[in-house]
């Protein structure tokens, strides 16, 4: 299973953290520091796996961002690389050639998409299309709610004139 997902920029800034195993808040900071130290210091062309505290961190770099997932010793590292890529492609499809800034300003969207891909540390959906459809459906719900709220406040505003 995936114990946690981290997105770290090349400068070591955290862009997303998702914990599927119980790590207390204090421990999380420590873990992030350790992982960024391990991963960011690795040269190019090395393999994408780092052994860490009896677990394995699978990471992959996309432009300035490192996508890291921590898994058990006996999990399939190659598959996790595919999962990371799957997530990146889904983000790409949603944002339209995603870049780090998208993930900074719309970090909550990145979380929503991740929540459609992974749950309880396991893969949930292998179809990018389905994920996109589900996210679009929820975004639409939010939009309608907003419009309703606006129209109500308009009515109130007009009534109070």
């Amino acid at each position: 299973m995936i114990h946690f997902v981290l997105l770290i920029s090349r400068q070591g800034k955290v862009r997303l953290t998702k914990w599927y195993s119980a790590y207390p808040q204090k421990e999380r900071t420590k873990v992030i520091r350790e992982i960024s130290g391990e991963v960011l210091s690795r040269g190019p062309k090395l393999c994408n796996f780092v052994e860490w505290r009896g677990l394995k961190v699978v990471y992959r770099r996309y432009a300035s961002l490192y996508f890291c997932m921590c898994i058990n010793q006996d999990d399939n590292e190659l598959e996790v690389l595919e999962i990371i890529h799957h997530y990146v492609e889904t983000l790409d499809r949603y944002f339209g050639s995603v870049c780090e800034l998208d993930l900074i300003f719309n970090f909550h969207k990145a979380y929503y998409i991740l929540d459609e891909l992974l749950l309880a540390g396991e893969l949930q959906e292998s179809s990018k299309k389905t994920v996109a459809r589900l996210i679009a459906g929820q975004d639409a719900l939010v939009e309608t709610a907003k419009e309703e709220a606006n129209s109500i406040s308009n009515i109130i505003a007009q009534a109070s004139k």
């Binding site: 190659l78 598959e79 999962i83 909550h108 396991e122 179809s127 939010v142």
Partner: protein, 877 residues
């Protein structure tokens, strides 16, 4: 609008934070935002609650505390609208973890949302539950999740399946409720449901053997068919990854088949064909294909034996191993470790490639390869492989040297065919990476050296050469100093020359140089310096010509700021100056170190012979307590319980090596550490087998010509045995010379710390009609407490009725009496009454026990009272 609510939008806040040039600026912005959000929370602001929570999440990711926002998540989750709930659940998962009490408050909202009519809201609740639920929540909400496994929308079913995994991981007893609904998911066509369903079933098998049996029987064929379908499926753009349809589904199916096939020949048989097909037909030019092959190989290795398939699997790994992609090589090494147990021969064939991987530039690959090489080594290939590894040690990265050194040492110890090879390899390792060699390994080496008398000369010369070449490796210096101290004469006289050696000329002064360098080099640690001091002491006797120089070096160390070194040098100096007659006996060569004792100690056990032999010598006749007996007991007894627990066995052993040399001085010095050294000395002496009884008899003539004694052990033993107290009592001269030896280092004789469980019994009271015996025991944990078992014996011919024993003690003692075993004492010693007393001595070590007693009983209805005082308690109770 609320004047407190922050006017800035989320986007503006992020921008402001990103615009900060320094950390202080960033803190200021965050502080301002947090203040505004707190104010809004206090105002119970509705309008911007979700925006504030979003801001908090961002601030949280930056690493600032955001606990004050936790309740806001709950409020948002409890509100009716989807947008609020969406952000509320996200905050819940981000800001809280399962250990927080607050989480329990959300159970009710979760329950409502799981039954909501809007499926997206149901989805949110499932997601939150699956990601952070605790065991209690899992129990409370399991029925809802179970129901949702049959929900009409597949997207809810798949979420419910993964949520069930979390639930059964938290509460395995719930597994059986999920078996049937999970089996139903395996028949679905929707890939998401299938993937999650297979995963759920795999996890169910892990926690429930009942589930495993069920799925094995009912589902193996269905799964094989599903795998066949997906493997043969035509191009499906929705699921295509690099030309393969849904590798994720492939992998999960293979993993589940592995669980079903393991240990079951029939199930394994069912899946053979499809495994062969996947192993041969899967494209291996893309990562996705390799991921499937990798999983397939593992399944083939794990299920019941099928020779043909295994050959296929090993071949795939061979191909992986020669792949240029580091990731593929890494997983190949990983899998070969598992393959070793299946087919060691096949793995041995790849030895050369694996050895190359040890030298890879990638730390992860190196580490895997080293683990694998370690498993591959056996008696037949140990020499060439070790040579390769040691050669590589010279050029490897600093951070890899630790691992590599540990593995090499372990290999050499485990497979060494002969001692000279062992010593040679260890010396190479010490010279290359001595700083990474663990203490235990050094000790093991010293034991081996000590046990190879014909190699002493060879070893000490080799060490001398190695030391000349590099004196930067701590462990090398230690071993070299130890050997030169012990076998320095062999170094100088070229004793025991082997054919393979080149002769070297070393003068006595050169040998002393080594020890001097070791003391004076900046980087030496305390142990090394202390060992060097001992070596010098030893050399002073071996090389009389250098004796003056050695004394000078010792004198310089007298001013050392480290207590240990200062003390040692003062003690040694005193030996050199005042006790020439015993010096040569003191510093004789160490007796051969007992390998069995060492390895036993390494395994954490103290040789039992020691305690039993002490026990045997302690049977002092009841009542007659020799004044010397108790302290002697103390000293000996320390061995059985007081072996320093916190120190590792290795360090303990080191103490022994040092302790034996040091003992005349330090065993009696005031520090408790020294006392422990003394203890270990005794331990060693005893385990070597000199009977302590003999030493008691030799007490009076300790300092008389002990050189006559055959072994240094015996002389040390004789020196040690009397405690200062007893020595003074026995022979005043002896006592004063011990104090003399300490030379101004605090004259007070030590009162040894007392843990000994064995004390001689005494007759506490005896009259014409009654005898009371006391047996003593002490818990090692608390030396202040003594447990006394009193045994009463009736010496008259009358039965004593209403027998009552009372005792009184001075204020520094505390006494607790347990009830007596009976209040009737049969006549003529035909039966005993026992009673337990517990005495706590607050002045333990300073004052002995004293006790007044009174015994009342009735003979034929007539009261009798006896009284007495007990002074004859053993000392140190």
């Amino acid at each position: 609008m609320n004047p407190f609510s922050s006017g800035t939008r989320l986007r503006d806040m992020i921008r402001a934070i990103r615009a900060c040039k320094t950390a202080a600026e960033e803190r200021a912005v965050v502080r301002k935002e947090c203040a505004a959000i707190r104010a809004a929370i206090n105002e119970n602001d509705q309008e911007y609650r979700h925006r504030n929570l979003a801001k908090l999440m961002f601030i949280h990711m930056l690493g600032y505390p955001t606990h004050f926002g936790q309740m806001e998540c709950l409020k948002l989750i409890a509100s009716a609208g989807f947008p609020e709930k969406r952000i509320g659940y996200l905050g819940l998962m981000l800001l809280l973890d399962e250990r927080q009490e607050v989480l329990m408050l959300v159970t009710n909202s979760l329950k409502q949302d799981l039954n909501h009519t809007n499926q997206y809201i149901v989805g949110l609740a499932l997601c939150a539950l699956g990601n952070i639920c605790s065991a209690e929540m899992a129990r409370d909400l399991a029925p809802e999740v179970e129901k949702l496994l049959q929900f009409r929308d597949p997207n809810i079913r798949k979420k419910a399946a993964l949520c069930s995994i979390r639930i059964i991981r938290k509460v395995p007893d719930l597994a059986e409720n999920f078996i049937n609904p999970a089996a139903a998911l395996l028949k679905e066509k929707h890939h998401g449901v299938l993937i999650t369903g297979v995963q759920l079933c795999t996890d169910l098998c892990k926690v429930s053997s009942e589930a495993l049996e069920y799925f094995r029987k009912k589902c193996t064929e269905v799964l094989v068919k599903t795998l066949k379908d997906v493997a043969n499926s035509p191009y499906a753009p929705e699921y295509d990854v690099g030309g393969i349809t849904d590798p994720f589904l492939h992998i999960r199916l293979l993993k589940f088949l592995r669980v079903l096939g393991q240990g079951d020949a029939d199930a394994s048989d069912t899946m053979n064909d499809i495994l062969a097909q996947v192993a041969t037909k899967t494209e291996s030019n893309k990562n996705a294909g390799n991921a499937i092959l990798y999983e397939c190989v593992e399944t083939i290795m794990s299920i019941e034996d099928n020779g043909g398939l295994r050959v296929l699997a090993i071949n795939i790994l061979g191909r992986f191993l020669s792949n240029r992609d580091n990731n593929i090589r890494y997983v190949a090494l990983n899998m070969l470790m598992k393959a070793i147990s299946v087919d060691a021969q096949a793995v041995q064939r790849h030895r050369a490639t694996i050895l190359e991987c040890v030298k890879d530039s990638d730390a992860s690959i190196r580490k895997r390869a080293l683990e694998l090489v370690y498993l591959l080594i056996n008696e037949s290939n140990v020499k060439p492989l070790t040579k390769e590894l040691i050669d590589y040690l010279e050029v490897s990265d600093q951070e890899f040297k630790g691992d590599l050194t540990a593995k090499i040492c372990s290999i050499v110890e485990k497979f060494s065919p002969e001692k000279i090879w062992y010593i040679d390899q260890m010396l190479k390792v010490l010279s290359e990476a001595g700083n990474f060699v663990k203490d235990e390994v050094c000790h093991a080496l010293i034991v081996v050296i000590s046990n190879a008398p014909d190699l002493h000369g060879y070893t000490v010369r080799a060490l001398y050469r190695a030391f000349q070449a590099s004196s930067e490796q701590e462990s090398l210096v230690r071993v070299a100093v130890w050997c030169i101290g012990e076998y320095g004469d062999m170094l100088v006289k070229n004793v025991g020359m082997l054919d393979v050696e080149d002769p070297i000329t070393v003068t006595e002064s050169d040998a002393v140089d080594v020890a001097e360098i070791a003391i004076k080099r900046q980087s030496s640690d305390l142990t090394t310096k202390a060992m060097a001091l001992i070596a010098l002491l030893k050399l002073s006797s071996r090389f009389p010509s250098c004796s003056e120089r050695i004394r000078d070096i010792l004198v310089q160390q007298k001013g050392s700021l480290v207590l240990e070194l200062q003390q040692r040098s003062i003690e040694f100096n005193s030996i050199l100056e005042k006790h020439r007659n015993i010096r040569s006996a003191l510093v004789e060569r160490m007796p051969v170190l007992d390998e069995a004792t060492f390895s036993g100690r390494r395994a954490g056990s103290v040789p039992t012979t020691v305690s039993s032999s002490t026990g045997a010598t302690l049977k002092v006749p009841n009542g007659v307590v020799k004044p010397t007996a108790a302290p002697l007991v103390d000293l000996l007894d320390l061995t059985s319980d007081d072996v320093p627990a916190p120190s590792s066995s290795g360090a303990d052993f080191l103490n022994d090596i040092l302790g034996v040399d040091l003992s005349p001085a330090s065993a009696h010095s005031g520090t408790s550490q020294a006392a422990k050294n003394g203890t270990d000395v005794l331990l060693d002496i005893l385990s070597i087998g000199t009977p302590p009884a003999q030493s008691i008899s030799s007490t009076p003539d300790i300092f008389s010509p002990s050189q006559n004694q055959k072994t240094p052990v015996a002389s040390l033993d004789a020196l040690l045995t009397p405690s200062p107290v007893s020595a003074r009592a026995a022979s005043p001269q002896a006592a004063s010379s011990i104090i003399d030896l300490l030379d101004g280092l605090g004259p007070g004789p030590t009162v040894p710390e007392n843990n000994g469980p064995a004390y001689p019994s005494i007759v506490a009271f005896e009259s014409s009609s009654l005898r009371i015996m006391f047996d003593f025991s002490k818990s090692p944990a608390n030396p202040q407490i003594t447990v006394i078992k009193a045994t009463f014996t009736n010496l008259s011919s009358n039965v004593y009725a209403d027998f009552v024993f009372q005792a009184a003690v001075p204020k520094f003692l505390q006494l607790h009496l347990d009830p007596a075993s009976s209040n009737t004492l049969p006549a003529s010693g035909s039966g005993n009454v026992t009673q337990t007393l517990r005495v706590t001595n607050s002045q333990h070590g300073k004052k002995s026990l004293v006790m007044r007693i009174r015994i009342a009983y009735k003979i034929d209805g007539k009261d009798v009272l006896e009284e007495g005082q007990i002074n004859g308690f053993p000392r140190d109770l």
